[in-house]
């Protein structure tokens, strides 16, 4: 791992942007600053997933990447150019990084062949690629120039059901191409934006995405079952807020939603049931605590805080979800599920 690789450059933080008039990148990664034989490895450490070269060259040969990230309010806008590579984010990566954003991408150069249900779907130009970063993902990227906009899940409330539906298929290509053109125009202006413009840009981008998604064919079809999606979102938030409470149960979720028990089961039907969903979220919370730098709590204390009274049972369930024991993953926290600068930056509030 290269300590100096993707760290934001000194003086290019958000605060200094105000002085010069324009916002500065709050994240930056360029392989040109690294020795040739470390360029590919440097990028490998940076991306939340696994990458391989797809140009047939060795990993110690020159590999070009130039990525700049800008903060537009709570949207992270990333402009990235690189040589071609293959990318894979496994279910386990997803769990350990615990990302839960929408990402909308367009390509100004090159293309991406994403694996969608076993089929390669090509995204290029203003074809919109919409994904949830919390989903496993694999793709082949040509040498490309891309724009990514990461939106926290909470910023598109009310549309989650439709977005979930669109994001796991090639349907996002059917979002209106004018939205893609807007994002490209915005991407070209990221370096010339004043701080106040960047906030307006964030608000406008959310509204533009909202308008396009709401008018997609999928959305109009899904309008018949909007209630389920809305209720799921309310339930999800309630669960997330109350993970540490021992009385978080089917009953308390039911009471919070003011619906029947039967309806609660229906809402979580596709996620393997409400109990399982709560347990999985609690295990994720435990993993976060285990891997946080302060080692103040013992494993059993953490387990107990999230309602796991039986430590043996906790370890078993933990291993089933993350593929390692709590102790192993705590020890590995320094290296294995390392959060790269990139991931840290994306998750910064």
């Amino acid at each position: 791992m290269n300590d100096h690789s993707g760290r934001p450059h000194p003086g290019t933080n958000e605060a200094s942007g105000i002085k010069s008039g324009f916002i500065k990148p709050s994240y930056s990664f360029e392989t040109s600053q690294l020795p040739l034989n470390e360029q590919f490895d440097g990028y490998r450490d940076e991306l939340p997933g696994h990458i391989e070269r797809s140009d047939g060259k060795g990993i110690s040969e020159k590999f070009f990447v130039d990525t700049k990230g800008f903060s537009l309010g709570d949207i992270r806008a990333v402009s990235s150019r690189s040589d071609g590579f293959s990318f894979y984010r496994s279910p386990q990566d997803v769990k350990s990084f615990d990302m839960d954003d929408w990402v909308v991408a367009v390509r100004t150069k090159g293309h991406v062949d994403a694996n969608v249900d076993g089929n390669a779907v090509r995204f290029q130009g203003s074809h919109l690629e919409l994904r949830n970063t919390g989903e496993p993902f694999s793709a082949h990227l040509s040498a490309h120039e891309s724009l990514y906009f990461f939106l926290p899940r909470k910023t598109l409330t009310g549309l989650e059901g439709i977005l979930d539906h669109i994001s796991v298929s090639e349907k996002s290509k059917r979002l209106h191409p004018l939205l893609g053109h807007y994002l490209m125009a915005l991407g070209a202006r990221l370096s010339y934006m004043t701080p106040s413009e960047s906030l307006i840009a964030a608000e406008t981008t959310r509204a533009m995405i909202r308008a396009s998604v709401a008018r997609s064919p999928e959305s109009i079809a899904a309008a018949q079952t909007p209630i389920l999606a809305t209720q799921f979102e309310v339930a999800r938030k309630f669960i997330e807020r109350n993970l540490g409470r021992p009385d978080l149960t089917v009953e308390s979720v039911r009471a919070a939603l003011c619906v029947s028990r039967r309806q609660v089961y229906k809402i979580f039907e596709n996620l393997g049931g409400v109990e399982r969903y709560i347990r999985s979220r609690r295990l994720s919370a435990c993993l976060r605590e285990l891997q946080s730098s302060e080692m103040r709590w013992t494993i059993s204390q953490i387990a107990e805080r999230y309602g796991f009274k039986d430590v043996a049972g906790f370890s078993r369930q933990f291993r089933a979800q993350f593929g390692g024991s709590p102790g192993e993953l705590r020890e590995a926290a320094g290296s294995m599920p390392k959060r790269s600068n990139y991931t840290e930056w994306l998750n910064r509030q």
């Binding site: 009310g158 209106h176 191409p177 004018l178 939205l179 053109h181 807007y182 125009a185 915005l186 070209a188 202006r189 010339y192 934006m193 004043t194 106040s196 413009e197 307006i200 840009a201 608000e203 406008t204 509204a207 533009m208 308008a211 396009s212 709401a214 008018r215 959305s219 109009i220 309008a223 909007p226």
Partner: protein, 348 residues
């Protein structure tokens, strides 16, 4: 005839391009022909030294609440006078991107110099004068009633050179749209109008905040006040001639004159209420029943509402919901004059 076009009504159909050009005329008639075409909007003159033909060409698309036009023309001088403001019924905003040429114009003490790449914002509710050399531009004409949320902002930046990164994004979007509009379908109009409104608001907000709205005198004063009042209290059951007269301190007779051109104030209110219903019904995120929406704007008789809605838009409320239409029915025939095109009326 300088106008060509075809008739369309179907939702999946393309939007008709209305074309106008002087090249179909005899050279000596070309300037007079163009002058007459733009007469409802501006008086134009050309340099005395110039003789012979005059080239002007425009392609327009009627998107309902806004109109899109691409045009090229030879040098000219123009005046939009108090008489135009009073008599034409055109009080639209015009946003133009100059793609070629130079232009200078003045409104009150605001002077606007434009060259290729500039964005101009003008309100036809105020007089202005100007001159241009050979220019090409892409223009958006926005009708005042359909943009109540950004009307103050648009008035504030009238004849001000607006700049900024979001203005650049807006310009690029309009230029993309100019290309895209040739294949645009009626069902896509609502998205185009909504996205343009969002971008306009984003691009003009910084400039408008610096200027403040109060600086420009409202030329069409009372009418505008009445209109704003109506828009604001659209959902109120008390909205009517009486409440407007009381609030504005005018007599019934004066109110009658203000809305004479719109067929009376009651008709105007009904049209704005139908437009609000149409927008809500076509909004895919609004899950209220059609009856509930109609009722919230005072339409308690369902059958009557449907009839009036269809008369105004050419489709039923149910069709509007199914197709996500928002208040656009392409005019069946091409316009004969600029006013007809912009005001969406057709001479009988």
């Amino acid at each position: 005839m300088g106008i060509t076009g075809r008739t369309t009504v179907d939702c999946s159909s393309r939007i008709r391009a209305d074309r106008f050009t002087t090249v179909t005329q005899q050279r000596r008639d070309q300037f007079a022909y163009w002058k007459e075409w733009v007469a409802p909007l501006v008086d134009i003159e050309r340099d005395e030294s110039t003789e012979g033909g005059y080239f002007a060409s425009a392609r327009g698309h009627d998107l309902g609440s806004l109109h899109f036009a691409s045009s090229s023309m030879d040098p000219m001088q123009y005046r939009h006078t108090e008489d135009h403001v009073r008599a034409s019924g055109i009080d639209h905003w015009c946003l133009a991107i100059l793609k070629r040429g130079n232009e200078i114009s003045r409104a009150g003490d605001r002077v606007l110099t434009s060259s290729a790449g500039s964005l101009q914002v003008r309100s036809f509710a105020y007089p202005f004068v100007g001159r241009s050399d050979g220019t090409s531009s892409a223009c958006l004409f926005l009708s005042r009633d359909n943009f109540p949320d950004i009307s103050d902002m648009l008035d504030a930046v009238h004849h001000i050179g607006v700049t900024g990164s979001l203005v650049e994004v807006l310009k690029e979007y309009i230029i993309t749209l100019e290309d895209y509009i040739k294949t645009l379908r009626v069902s896509e109009i609502s998205l185009v109008v909504e996205s343009l409104t969002l971008l306009l608001s984003a691009a003009l907000k910084p400039a408008a905040n610096n200027i403040g709205v109060a600086e420009m005198p409202i030329a069409a004063g009372r009418f505008n006040l009445a209109r704003k009042y109506i828009q604001r209290y659209l959902a109120s059951p008390d909205l009517g001639a009486n409440s407007i007269c009381r609030t504005l301190g005018i007599s019934r007779r004066q109110l009658y004159y203000l809305f004479e051109r719109h067929g009376g104030v009651e008709k105007f209110i009904r049209q704005r209420r139908l437009a609000a219903c149409c927008k809500a019904i076509a909004d895919p995120m609004d899950h209220r029943l059609i009856n509930t929406i109609a009722c919230s704007y005072g339409f308690t008789n369902q059958a009557l509402f449907s009839r009036q809605f269809r008369a105004a838009y050419g489709f039923s409320p149910t069709e509007a919901r199914a197709a996500g239409l928002s208040g656009h029915r392409p005019e069946p025939s091409p316009p004969k004059t600029f006013s007809e095109w912009l005001l969406r009326t057709r001479g009988s």
